[in-house]
């Protein structure tokens, strides 16, 4: 049996860089509420410079959820997906007891941590192996996507419609802030120790991002949040070029041949 790629040593690293282009306006709401009566009801999240950005957590969440949907539908029988919220991997007592029993049986072994980690890894679905779960850290990381250049922010009004009268419902008027279409955000994603058979998943992620099918933020069902990855550059770092990457950074010869 070939060894699984855990996180204790370096096997490989994929780095994806590019520009996320907002094809439609984006609204990723901030949690802060203002007492200012002229302030917008729902403002967009902004960084310390007051510029809007797309949090890495939003993107990673959308990507994971999209992959779960695809893989659960059985498009590729090599890959499986759990439902991370409702029915996660290692989410039931029997599975955890099984792990505990293994833990008990190998506790005298000096390599116990590795053995248990392998047992945990074997019981994870493809998505959990890449995106992580409470028992195994994520191999994939997405940085916050900061604005490149400038963006136009606008305030859009909305109103609820009274179903009986077909007119504006009382006290249902609201407004929200949005980053207008055309805004460009710097994209950086990396995946560590990706197993060779999971390269197809990474390709799938890239295709999804480049096709503009993903939507981030709020109000996606009413036209907002459509993003497309452009100017994509994918690098693959392996043991033979790791030193060069660490000392000199990314180079053209490290580009992954897939793209």
């Amino acid at each position: 049996m070939k060894p699984v790629m855990l996180l204790d040593r370096f096997y490989n690293k994929y780095i994806v860089k590019g520009i996320l282009l907002a094809e439609t306006p984006i609204h990723i709401g901030s949690s802060g509420e203002s007492l200012d009566p002229v302030q917008v009801d729902n403002s967009v999240i902004k960084d310390s410079n007051g510029k809007p950005y797309i949090p890495g957590s939003s993107l990673k969440g959308v990507l994971r959820s999209y992959l779960e949907t695809l893989l659960s539908s059985g498009i590729d029988e090599r890959f499986k997906a759990c439902l991370i919220v409702n029915d996660p991997c290692l989410g039931n007592k029997e599975q955890l007891d099984e792990i505990k029993n293994i833990q008990e049986s190998v506790k005298a072994n000096h390599d116990a941590d590795r053995i248990i980690a392998e047992e945990i890894y074997k019981r994870l679905c493809t998505v959990c192996r890449i995106f992580g779960n409470p028992y195994f850290a994520s191999k994939l990381t997405v940085n916050d996507c900061h604005l490149k250049g400038d963006a136009h922010l606008s305030i859009r009004d909305g109103v609820g419609i009274d179903r009986d009268t077909g007119t504006a419902a009382d006290k249902k008027k609201y407004d929200f802030e949005q980053v207008d279409a055309g805004a460009r955000f710097e994209f950086y994603m990396s995946v560590d120790n990706l197993e060779p058979e999971h390269e197809d998943i990474l390709k799938l992620i890239l295709k999804v991002l480049e096709s503009g099918q993903l939507r981030v933020g709020g109000k996606t069902s009413v036209g907002l949040g459509c993003i497309r990855l452009t100017e994509t550059k994918v690098y693959k770092i392996e043991q033979h070029n790791l030193r060069s990457y660490l000392m000199q950074g990314l180079k053209e010869e490290m580009r992954w041949q897939y793209v």
């Binding site: 996180l7 941590d113 195994f136 994520s138």
Partner: protein
């Protein structure tokens, strides 16, 4: 010389595990902890430091041992004198600025801590300020500041180790530190300081001022225990012997009055430990219950007092302590267990000698028990009450 440690990060010293994953710092710094910090500072700056070097000290093999190597670059080394003197300097315990140790004879009102203290040696154990003057009191320990019980400010730091295979929290590795983060906290202005003071003897201010920043206590490699060292005014208080004798006489009179003793031929005086003391009680040979008189004799022997005095009363907290000597080579780095008499413990002596003879003898003592060079076993006269 008086030395001030101005902490710029919280510290954990002598962390005692209250439960398996909860480590609380003590609120004072023993001298051996300061010495270890100085040793580490010297080694970190030593041109010839070899972590694998083993030296034999008193027949025991040690690593990371500071000694003057007298090699070519040693003559230019700024820490040359500190390195040469480290084994000879005497370091006291360090306490929060402007605090003193509470004598274990002090009792406090159970109902209202603002009612002040009662000293069991010279007063009846009841709070005179409570209605009817019969308020219940209880023993207290710790530190005093401005005549009131004092506590340092501690802060929680929770940490875990990471399982290198899964990248998640390692099983059973979550722990919390309760670190000392401030000695003074002003609620109105938000001003905080974390300042400890003590004494280092055998070094000049110039020799100590070379140190820009020390790291004291545990977890120093992850940011805890950083402090600046400053030398305070050189003036040391020299006690006025006549005043001390007068205070001893007053205590003697009060003690006799409180305990109904009418014997002009004998005198009573008390000392209090202002630091922990490592005493050898020789309990290894004990295999039966002892009478009070036998027990008092054990105390006198453990103190090693060579003067015509008797132990009259002991108010002490003694715990078994077994530390680690991380400089030891080999698996077992534990030190021999010792009986540690806690700071604040009070011992009342009875003697027929005049007080000037007592002062002459006790004044010649560096301290009681082992490890007095690191401030253990230091004592002061106790005149009753908050003094």
């Amino acid at each position: 010389m008086k030395v001030r440690l101005n902490f710029i990060s919280p510290f954990v010293v002598g962390g005692i595990k209250l439960v398996s994953n909860y480590i609380e710092s003590i609120d004072y710094i023993p001298g051996n902890v300061i010495r270890a910090a100085l040793a580490r500072y010297i080694l970190n700056n030593c041109h010839y430091y070899d972590p694998d070097e083993v030296v034999t000290i008193d027949g025991i093999q040690k690593k990371n041992w500071v000694y003057f190597k007298d090699k070519p670059r040693c003559s230019d080394c700024k820490l040359q004198t500190l390195c040469q003197k480290l084994g000879d300097i005497r370091i006291s315990f360090f306490y929060p600025k402007d605090t003193m140790v509470i004598p274990s004879t002090l009792m406090m009102c159970k109902m209202d801590p603002h009612h002040g203290f009662v000293d069991r040696l010279i007063q009846q154990p009841r709070c005179a300020k409570c209605e009817g003057g019969r308020g219940r009191v209880e023993f207290v320990s710790g530190l005093l500041k401005d005549g009131k019980k004092y506590n340092v400010v501690k802060s929680f730091v929770t940490r875990t180790a990471i399982n290198r295979y899964t990248g998640t929290a390692k099983d059973g590795s979550l722990y919390s530190l309760l670190a000392v983060s401030a000695t003074l906290q002003d609620q109105n202005t938000g001003y905080e300081e974390n300042v400890f003071e003590g004494q280092i003897l055998g070094l000049t201010p110039q020799e100590l001022s070379i140190i820009d920043e020390l790291r004291i206590g545990k977890y120093t490699s992850v940011g805890l225990g950083r402090c600046n060292v400053t030398v305070m005014d050189e003036k040391m208080d020299t006690p006025d012997v006549s005043k001390v004798i007068q205070s001893l006489k007053e205590f003697d009179a009060q003690y006799k009055r409180n305990n109904g003793i009418n014997d002009d031929g004998c005198r009573y005086f008390a000392i209090k430990f202002i630091s922990d003391a490592k005493l050898d009680f020789g309990f290894a040979d004990v295999n039966e219950y002892m009478s009070t008189d036998q027990y008092k004799a054990v105390w006198l022997k453990a103190l090693g007092i060579n003067l015509d005095v008797q132990v009259e009363k002991v108010y002490a907290e003694v715990f078994n302590f077994r530390g680690y000597d991380t400089s030891k080579v080999g698996e077992d780095k534990r030190e021999q267990p010792v009986h540690m008499v806690e700071k604040g413990s009070v011992i009342v002596f009875k003697t027929h000698l005049a007080f000037d003879k007592v002062i002459d003898y006790f004044g010649s003592l560096e301290g009681f028990g082992q490890d007095t060079d690191n401030g253990f076993g230091k004592f002061d006269y106790h005149f009753g009450g908050v003094c």
